[in-house]
């Protein structure tokens, strides 16, 4: 295990903080130092507030000194994807449109992290408005994969996965609309959890596709992910789509749930296009579970082939409407030479949005248009119901599904210039968003070239405790997550 503070887990660090072996200021200083040392190469951060972080750390130490520490996250530096609002901090969505925007309010997850004593550290790069799978769509330039700086970290939450892998934060938050937490987690060799739709409040998350977006944690271990999830999950009166239910202590639940489990292997997730090294790693994971007494069962999700089309209709339709508010009138980029209101819209939006965002707005506008709505949007919603039903049918026989997270390991920066090729990166992850299910990516090996590989476990609605326990079952027998890139 690494002796460097910036590579330790929340679980370990909270122990060290509690025993006064380290202070939050020392820990935060170490993370800041690491960030300054490596981020010129990783480029995970859009911005950071060093003095603000140190002030939070000092406040945490003062609390602890007064015997009022607030739990395992108190004093731990946590980075947020730059689509999650923090009061008085920039909120850019990695877009020119919001390059100078400062949020006057906190997202609900931000409030909960602050209440838990976390040190909020930095604004993490992503694809513009979370649209992409490589973080190359950021208006501020791409983030590099810490395992190979010539490669992408995945996306859209590539800054969140890269910062964590590079030791620039102890945990991070991302958002996942079609795989944007799990795929970069897989490509950067960390744990990434996309919770059940409705478990974590979306209030304060810059909306991409409202019915698909979920905030979730990136962490070094499954236990750390459980700690963060316990903090951010739960009903929020500011989000009508957030679920009204008691949230368990996921960390405590990990110890209660030991299996053996019944795991389903959806045959549609192992077809053409799957990288042989990724396949081999996932097969070894299946064998591992089997050796531990789990039942492995091949299942079918027959509507999988329609996931990509369905996703790109629903997600773009919602995005076209969600992004209409960026008009240059109240905030955000405002074109300097607009003649009237309509001209202001055209120019501000033309100048403020990047190519992929524009592509999706146009696509979404098209599928909602009069005369096309029934053929596209309405039909996509029906197919979506079938896709969800596929999963629910499978869960009559199994506790969770096991798949690769991404069909291939990290690719080269600039390698995929065709948007469709990039869309295919999410082939194993988007079904989960369409069905509203929880899923986690855990490291399950490395390629011969030293690139991380991720294993995806898909759980049942609101059964994160069981899902994390299954992931933990794999993690306990492996050391993949304890490796760190050399930078």
């Amino acid at each position: 295990m690494s002796s460097e503070l910036h590579f330790k887990s929340i679980a370990d660090l909270s122990g060290l903080l509690e025993n006064r072996q380290v202070s939050s200021v020392e820990l935060t200083t170490a993370v800041i130092g690491r960030t300054k040392a490596v981020d010129a190469r990783v480029r995970a951060f859009n911005s950071f507030d060093e003095s603000g972080a140190l002030a939070q750390a000092a406040a945490s130490d003062a609390r602890r000194g007064a015997g009022k520490a607030r739990g395992p996250l108190d004093g731990i530096p946590v980075g947020l994807k730059d689509v999650i609002a923090v009061a008085n901090q920039p909120l850019t969505a990695s877009s020119r449109m919001l390059a100078n925007f400062v949020s006057p309010y906190d997202a609900t997850v931000t409030v909960r992290l602050k209440d838990a004593g976390a040190v909020l550290w930095g604004r993490l790069n992503c694809d513009e408005f979370a649209m992409g799978s490589s973080t190359e769509n950021s208006a501020f330039g791409p983030t590099a994969n810490p395992w190979d700086l010539s490669r992408v970290p995945g996306g859209s939450s590539g800054g969140s996965s890269a910062a964590l892998a590079a030791g620039e934060a102890i945990a991070t938050l991302g958002s996942d609309t079609g795989g944007s937490i799990r795929q970069p987690a897989a490509l950067c060799g960390v744990v990434g959890l996309k919770p059940t739709y409705g478990l974590v409040s979306r209030y304060g998350l810059v909306a991409f596709a409202s019915s698909l977006d979920q905030i979730g944690p990136f962490a070094r271990t499954v236990e750390d992910a459980a700690i963060v999830l316990s903090t951010i999950a739960g009903h929020d009166p500011h989000d009508s789509t957030s679920f009204k239910a008691a949230v368990p202590d996921y960390r405590a639940e990990l110890k209660q749930r030991r299996g053996p489990w019944r795991l389903g292997i959806p045959q549609e997730y192992f077809g053409a296009g799957l990288d042989p090294e990724v396949n081999a790693a996932v097969q070894r994971a299946i064998a591992f579970y089997e050796a531990r007494g789990c039942t492995i069962k091949e299942v079918s999700l027959p509507h999988t082939q329609y996931c990509l089309d369905t996703y790109y209709i629903i997600a773009t339709a919602e995005a076209s409407s969600n992004l209409a508010r960026f008009d240059g009138v109240r905030y955000g980029h405002r074109s300097k030479d607009a003649k009237d209101a309509v001209d202001l819209y055209f120019k501000s939006r033309s100048e403020g949005f990047g190519a992929e965002v524009k592509r999706r707005i146009i696509l979404g506008t098209y599928v909602l248009s009069s005369g096309y709505y029934d053929a596209y949007y309405l039909r996509a919603q029906k197919v979506r119901t079938l896709i969800r039903q596929d999963f629910l049918n499978a869960y009559r026989e199994v506790d969770a599904l096991l798949t690769p997270t991404s069909p291939a390991p990290a690719f080269k920066l600039g390698e995929k210039s065709d948007p469709l090729a990039l869309y295919l990166c999410d082939i194993y992850t988007i079904g989960v968003n369409l069905a509203g299910l929880p899923a986690v990516s855990v490291p399950c090996g490395f390629t011969g070239g030293g690139l991380p590989i991720g294993l995806q476990l898909i759980g049942q609605p609101f059964q994160e405790a069981e899902l994390l326990a299954i992931a933990r079952g794999y993690e306990e027998g492996h050391e993949w997550g304890q490796r760190h890139p050399v930078l």
Binding site: S240, T241, A324, R325, V329, A341, V342, S369, S370
Partner: protein
Amino acid sequence: MTKETIHGYEAVIGLEVHVQIKTRSKIFTRVAAGYGFPPNSLTDPVVLALPGTLPVMNKAALDAIIKAGLLLGCEIAPVCKWDRKNYFYPDSPKNYQITQYDQPICVGGQVEIELPGPARNVMGEHKKVPLTRIHLEEDVGKLNHGATDSLVDYNRAGTPLMEIVSEPAMHSAEEAFAYLTSLRATMIFGGISDCDMEKGQLRCDANISIRPAGETKLGTKVELKNLNSISFVRDGIAHEIKRQVGVLERGGALVQETRDYDGHAGTSQSLRSKEMAHDYRYFPDPDLMPVEVDDAWKAKLRAECPELPFAKQRRFVDAYQLPYSLTSVLAWDRGLADYFEQAVRAAGPDRAVAVGNWIVNFFLREVGERKGSIEALAARVPPAAAAELVGMVQSGELLGNAVAQVSSAMFSDGAPPREVVEREGLSARSDAGELEQWCRDAIAANAKALAEFKGGKESAINAFKGPVMKAGKGKADPKRVDAMLRKLLAE
């Protein structure tokens, strides 16, 4: 419906009425709703559509529209579902409006209207104008155009708004006027809205077409906007019908368009034609879950529904035998009607007409003269005091010609009627001795009339009455004066 025709054309009118719902907070966030506040002071991150904000429905707004639907006999949908109407305009912070597209919360229903009668005190014809739907949505902000720039005030944005759509079932400006009058009273009675058109709490657009009388197919529709008062609605529609008839009479053709009515000038001009119609790209709002409206919820709201003016009028006729001239006044203000019924309860049902007359003749005069609200004046002169006053008149204790003076005093200082009568010495019963004296004085002062009366000229008695009434200053009961004079003259 009866149909009036102009040059053989019949008008067909449908109204789209927007009514702001009176809630403390806005429809999708907790910031206050209100009118007359400094620009952009009633805003928050949700109203301004800052990145990441989400709507959360205000239940009070849904309660109000369901109540409106129940009052108007609508069918209430089992689920309240929300849609986005997408269009770019600077008064719309999200550049989409949250509204209800294909599943309005209220379907059908009708508005009972009364057309003007042959005279003011005679009831006119009653009709029921069918409704298409009522749906809930959010209001937009307000643009203020300057010489070189435009400013936007988002205070109004997010105010809960009902859109009440009638069937194209009205045929004259008078019917539209009666429809709005009735609809407005329904909203005010239900506590749903104050419907102050000057504050934009009630706004009306009219769809107007004409067709040859007897034709069943609808003619080319013109939408008339900016009808800013109920009178402008009537005048604007009348003007538009005449304009359309004029166009056809001159051999021209009507185009489907939206026209802006200028109520002060009495003219209208075209805003846009159908070719410029928007594609609003409606789709279900993924940020808002559908809300189930169950029977218990509806039953609770139904129990809160008040009696509406026309029903009240009918009941006042049945229960109290009030004439139309009274019911048409008393039943159209909830506070006034309640006051009336409380006073009748105290005075006894046989005095209902007297109570009603007193309210219309004296109470409402005070409302007008003192410019006080009905509620404030009702608090100063409670219904029991009104009942007592009426009782005193009926029993002869107080004379009719003194009622104005007593009433005025009661409204001035809130004193009970008996106290006023005693203080001002107006009791018709306390003057037995005085009356005799006034009569003796009057007889003594007019020897000529005395001689005439004694001579058999019966009408000469009237010559004494004037001076007696004058001396009595309102306390002298004419009947008792007559009896006293006869008694004394017989001596």
